[in-house]
């Protein structure tokens, strides 16, 4: 058997793949957080709960309506984004003139409500969601075994992240968005409907979380706590990357997933804490975050 640094390659690449998958979820979620933060100046604490909701909507589609994975991948984000837009219109929009911390508190409360409601309805034991038949099975790559679905998650997440990046950096709509992030009042003065843009941005960020939820459903069991466990790590990722740049959020997400995977190979005890240790080091050296601007 081949080994690298005394570690069998199978184990090493297996953990790296797991790290890459975690990184894919970190990237998708921190991208949504960064987008929302850029325009709304709110840290969306309910992001994890909405990710969980995405997975649950897919599960409910399958078990109540018989709607399969591929349609869920399209429909669940729309449903969850509609819910998000409702929240933004009825509640968040009242808070823009106040201290940003109120947005954090409100979305924390919403996260508790959503999580509590799903826990009340479905308990805390996870529900399985089958891998779609098109993506079942795996490939033996020689140095490792690659389950096709896991490869698909990494590829899908890369496509989504790069697509969002292109949308924001290269299109006219993205230019409006970036301008609105810099100076919303001025952009509004040019006749662009900023409140509408804010609502759609929130919807888009939430939809990204929901897609991540659907992608996660076949890997992790669908359970009401899946979001809150993830979102705190994503917050640390966001602190490490800084919320200044979209590409920064994506790169940091994948990078930290890999760091976590490597830690699992070489020092498993620290795997759950390594991201927080990285965060401490970044805070000491570059408090604004790796890609952050200012403080």
């Amino acid at each position: 058997m081949m080994t690298i640094f005394g570690i069998p390659t199978q184990a090493l690449f297996g953990q790296l793949l797991l790290g890459l998958i975690n990184g894919a979820f970190y990237a998708m979620l921190s991208l949504g957080l960064a987008l929302i933060f850029g325009l709304l100046n709110i840290i969306n604490f309910s992001h994890g709960a909405l990710y969980m909701m995405g997975a649950f909507v897919a599960w409910l589609f399958l078990n109540l309506l018989g709607v399969g994975y591929w349609w869920s991948l399209l429909l669940a984000p729309i449903v969850v984004a509609a819910f998000g837009i409702l929240i933004e219109r009825t509640m968040l929009s009242r808070l823009y003139k106040l201290d940003h911390l109120y947005g954090l508190l409100l979305t924390f409360g919403l996260a508790l409500i959503i999580e509590g409601a799903f826990r009340q309805l479905y308990g805390i034991s996870g529900m399985p969601y089958a891998v779609p038949p098109e993506l079942a099975g795996g490939w033996n790559l020689g140095f490792m075994y690659l389950p096709i679905y896991r490869g698909w998650v990494v590829v899908a997440s890369l496509i989504l992240c790069l697509g969002s990046w292109l949308l924001i950096e290269k299109t006219k709509l993205g230019a409006y968005l970036r301008a609105g992030t810099e100076n919303a009042t001025l952009v509004q003065a040019f006749g662009i409907n900023v409140p509408m843009m804010v609502t759609l941005t929130y919807g888009f960020g939430v939809a990204l979380a929901a897609i991540a939820g659907v992608l996660a459903a076949p890997i992790y069991s669908v359970n009401p706590l899946m979001g809150s466990n993830l979102i705190i790590v994503v917050f640390a990722v966001v602190v490490i990357g800084g919320m200044g740049s979209i590409l920064g959020a994506i790169i940091t997400g994948f990078m930290l997933g890999l760091v976590e995977g490597l830690t699992k190979v070489f020092y498993p005890e620290a795997a759950s804490t390594v991201i927080f240790v990285v965060m401490s080091i970044v805070l000491m050296i570059k408090p604004a975050g790796l890609f952050g601007k200012g403080n």
Binding site: L101, L104, L110, L112, T273, M279
Partner: protein, 322 residues
């Protein structure tokens, strides 16, 4: 409200403010004869926890979303010291508070490099790290927690196994801590904290080393949160993962917000309300979480000054400062 209170410091007569304070003290002394003492002690512990948290949010304007790490970890240390090392309760509590103080100094040193929303996220992340440490470290006994912690004899003399004795001990700890906090808030140090809260750049331009003030406030807040956790572990004879979980961090935010941020009595009032809700709805699944979330939403949207914050102007018209 937050302003310095000359009524207590100077005048000798019976001001309405004094009547309120003495009334509450008297109520605290006779309460265990009418209300279940364990419930009251739980309320006191969380009142202290919320008051410690309020020092940071209400007077420095820093929202920590990770105060459970101080509360929960000092509970573990106190429980371990009392059970495994057989130390007397006051030493065990001191060890717990010392742990929380050190933890507060280290995490605070890192966290105050960011402000606002980032500060909240950094503290939350650190507390999650400590949660994972608590899950893995052998001395915390994972999911079981440290059970059957002996309350022991205070100073080797006073038997705390008697519920009423324990009650008065906890009550005394709370009253002393609230007096201490009152003193901090109304000291020159407290005035600087409020200046930082209201206008940080101006405080810097006046020559105050803002970071040192923030760090000291954070450490004090952590130490008092630790005291609350230590005492709680003796009251319930249990230290468990619940106390280090981010839910506990959220609950203390809720108590303070509900009671009134930056008020003296607000966090205590909020703590008792939240504990009462917990006890009342504890039997029926996840409703506690849903209700707590709903209170958050209502507080933020409609009720930002909290119960005491809303009542204070009414009382003030009658010359009472809440």
């Amino acid at each position: 409200m937050t302003s310095a209170n000359p009524a207590i410091a100077q005048s000798g007569g019976l001001t309405p403010q004094r009547i309120l304070v003495f009334g509450l003290l008297a109520l605290g002394l006779i309460a265990p004869f009418g209300v279940y003492p364990i419930f009251l002690m739980k309320g006191f512990c969380f009142a202290l926890f919320a008051a410690a948290f309020n020092l940071l949010l209400g007077y420095v304007g820093l929202l920590s979303f990770g105060h459970a790490m101080f509360f929960g970890f000092s509970a573990y240390v106190t429980a371990h010291a009392a059970k495994e090392w057989g130390l007397t309760p006051e030493i065990a509590i001191l060890l717990g508070v010392a742990t929380a103080t050190v933890l507060g100094a280290v995490t605070g040193w890192l966290a105050i490099r960011r402000s606002g929303i980032y500060f909240a996220m950094v503290t939350l992340a650190f507390s999650q790290m400590m949660y994972f440490v608590a899950v893995q470290a052998p001395f915390t006994h994972g999911e079981d927690g440290i059970q059957g912690v002996p309350r022991g004899h205070l100073l080797g003399l006073i038997d705390l196994n008697d519920t009423l004795t324990m009650y008065y001990f906890v009550f005394a700890v709370l009253v002393a801590s609230l007096l201490f906090l009152h003193r901090i808030v109304n000291s020159p140090f407290g005035q600087v904290l409020k200046a930082i809260r209201d206008n940080e750049p101006r405080a810097i331009s006046l020559g105050y080393e803002v970071d040192r003030y923030k760090l000291l406030a954070f450490t004090l807040s952590a130490a008092l949160a630790g005291l609350a956790g230590s005492v709680k572990s003796l009251v319930f004879q249990l230290a468990s993962l619940t106390d280090v979980h981010w839910h506990a961090s959220g609950e203390v935010v809720l108590m303070t917000l509900l009671g009134g941020v930056g008020t003296v009595f607000g966090p205590s009032a909020g703590a008792f309300l939240v504990v009462a809700i917990q006890d009342y709805f504890s039997g029926i699944g996840s409703w506690v979480t849903i209700i707590q979330g709903a209170i958050f939403v209502v507080c933020v949207l409609l009720f930002r000054s909290g119960i005491v914050g809303v009542m204070a102007p009414m009382l003030k018209r009658r010359g009472i400062q809440a």
